[in-house]
């Protein structure tokens, strides 16, 4: 779990965009850990949300993830 969290944070920090889809985050983690399962990535992402390191960004119809403090993180 800690390895996946680290890979997620690295992906989030190095990604060109400050908000990204779950599938893209999963692909980013797979580059480092090829055998990781989607559900494990989700559990790690949820843990990072609870630690307030990641944030959800929702348009209402679809949801993205982002790194807290990077890009838009406050109300408009």
């Amino acid at each position: 779990m800690e390895d996946i969290k680290k890979a997620i944070l690295e992906f989030a920090e190095n990604n060109k965009k400050s908000k990204f889809y779950f599938a893209d985050m999963e692909k980013g983690v797979r580059k480092v850990m090829p055998d990781v399962k989607a559900r494990e990535v989700k559990k790690a992402a949820t843990s990072l949300i609870n630690e307030e390191k990641l944030i959800y960004y929702s348009t209402g119809s679809s949801t993205m993830y982002g790194l807290k403090g990077r890009g838009q993180t406050e109300d408009y």
Binding site: F22, V41, K42, T46, I49, Y57, S58, G60, D75
Partner: protein, 473 residues
């Protein structure tokens, strides 16, 4: 089967929960309403009040007047929120452009859905709707409420939100319309800890599952829609609140093919009650219908004289598969041909009933987009028995489909689009079920079932010489 809650249930007592007194809730007269003007001029909006139908503009004005007469400390957001909403709408109608920005970081802690951020792009002109976030509240199964429950959530929303709500949104949730960011957590706390009420789904989540009235009141329900909806809502909490899907995903549960929650048109996974034996026929009651003793359609069309009931014209000739006929005064049905349109059962409910060996048909891939046309779902599993805790459905249908969609689905691609892109054959492989002839829509021009390379001896690039040695050109 009696309802068995998965957690201890509190009885809500409105007297203990209420925020407003009766006087506060009825604080204006109809006379006052007639002379009431909101603070913005809204002639275009007011056009919507004309004509025979009820208008949200008229309702919003009532709410605006009600809020104007409440005391200052009785509302946690601005009192003129409704007036500003109408003011901005007027500008949008005139200019033909929206002034809403939607989306953002807003939410409640730990949840990736249930709150949809919305902001005005004219906050200086309409400061009371600078934030106007929507909250989705997971409706009770079949939308059964007590009036105490409704009063309690209305009080809460009046106090911490705009007081305006939708009963219900398209997915079925109760929609709270308009509040400020700082009110989200207190509302979530009150809903969860006091009213035992969860938020619904939004974003790339499992959306709030919804079901028809089912066995609570309907004799045609082929399975317990409320129980299945309740069980799957609880079992898939993580999917409801923590988004990891490519896009939205909807379950809907219809007890019979009348499809009262329109699962066939809207749900990515539709569960529609059906039977695999014969329609139950009471020949005496058939005679009573043809003899005029029982009104067809349970008297629903009795407001006009349509003449005597004609079973040939009104039932048999309208059967889509022509599987019915009258023979020696008896109604005969070739059940093998019945496609469950429900028309005959709807017309003669006392004579015909669904069969006794009941279960569900599972259909996949419907969606109802605004810009493109609707797509109906595909009958994938014609019949499956369903009993609590529905492990056969969870393990053999839902989870394999989700695993496939999460792996292969593109961002913002619905399940129906993935099925179209990769083909029904791939879906059948995922579910490990054989194809049915009915899945082949146009067998001579567009067969869905193709050869796969591994099924062809020697593969697609095999040498033709061996074949030609036995078969002259």
């Amino acid at each position: 089967m009696a309802f068995e809650p998965r957690e201890e249930q509190k009885e809500l007592k409105y007297k203990e929960l209420r925020i407003y007194s009766d006087e506060e809730l009825n604080n204006y007269t109809e006379e006052e309403l007639k002379g009431f003007k909101i603070k913005h001029e809204i002639p275009v909006c007011e056009e919507l009040e004309k004509g025979p139908w009820p208008s949200f503009v008229a309702d919003a004005k009532r709410e605006a007047l009600h809020r104007r007469k409440l005391a200052d400390d009785r509302m946690m957001i601005e009192r003129d929120v409704v007036e500003d909403l109408l003011g901005q709408l007027e500008i949008s109608f005139k200019e033909g452009e929206t002034h809403w920005k939607h989306g953002g970081i807003v939410g409640v802690f730990g949840y990736g859905g249930g709150v949809i951020g919305r902001y005005s792009d004219l906050p200086d002109k309409f400061p009371s709707i600078a934030h106007f976030h929507t909250m989705r509240v997971n409706q009770p199964a079949s939308k059964f409420y007590s009036s105490d429950y409704l009063r309690s959530i209305c009080d809460l929303w009046e106090y911490r939100g705009s007081g305006m709500m939708n009963m219900h949104g398209s997915t079925g949730d109760i929609i709270f319309l308009g509040t400020f960011t700082e009110q989200l957590e207190p509302i979530f706390y009150e809903l969860g800890h006091v009213l035992q009420q969860d938020l619904g789904g939004s974003g790339s989540n499992l959306r709030t599952p919804s079901c028809c009235i089912g066995r609570a009141r309907c004799e045609w329900a082929c399975y317990d829609t409320q129980d299945m909806c309740y069980e799957l809502t609880h079992y898939y909490q993580d999917e409801l609140h923590r988004p990891a899907f490519p896009y939205k995903f909807k379950f809907k549960f219809d007890g019979c093919p009348n499809c009262c929650v329109a699962s066939i048109a809207r749900a990515d996974m539709s569960f529609i009650g059906t039977w695999r034996d014969k329609i139950q026929v009471d020949q005496k009651a058939v005679k009573a219908y043809t003899g005029g003793e029982i009104k067809p359609n349970a008297g629903a069309h009795a407001g006009k004289d349509w003449g005597a009931f004609d079973i040939q014209k009104e039932v048999i000739d309208l059967c889509p598969t022509r599987c019915m006929r009258m023979e020696d005064g008896r109604l005969e049905i070739n059940d093998a041909e019945c496609n469950r349109c429900m028309h005959c059962i709807n017309v003669m409910p006392q004579a015909l009933r669904p069969g006794k060996d009941t279960g569900v048909s599972i259909l996949l891939g419907a969606k109802a987009p605004i810009l493109e046309g609707a797509q109906m779902s595909l009958l994938t599993i014609p019949f499956m028995k369903v009993e609590p805790p529905y492990d056969n459905v969870k393990e053999n249908v839902i989870e394999p489909v989700w695993d496939w969609w999460m792996e292969e689905g593109k961002n913002r691609e619905r399940l129906g689009e993935l099925i179209q892109r990769q083909g029904i054959q791939k879906l059948l492989e995922v579910l490990n079920i054989p194809p049915m002839p009915q899945m082949v829509k146009e067998p001579r021009s567009n067969p869905y079932i193709f050869w796969k390379e591994e099924d062809v001896p020697g593969g697609f690039k095999r040498s033709i010489e061996d074949y030609r040695s036995r078969h002259a050109r």
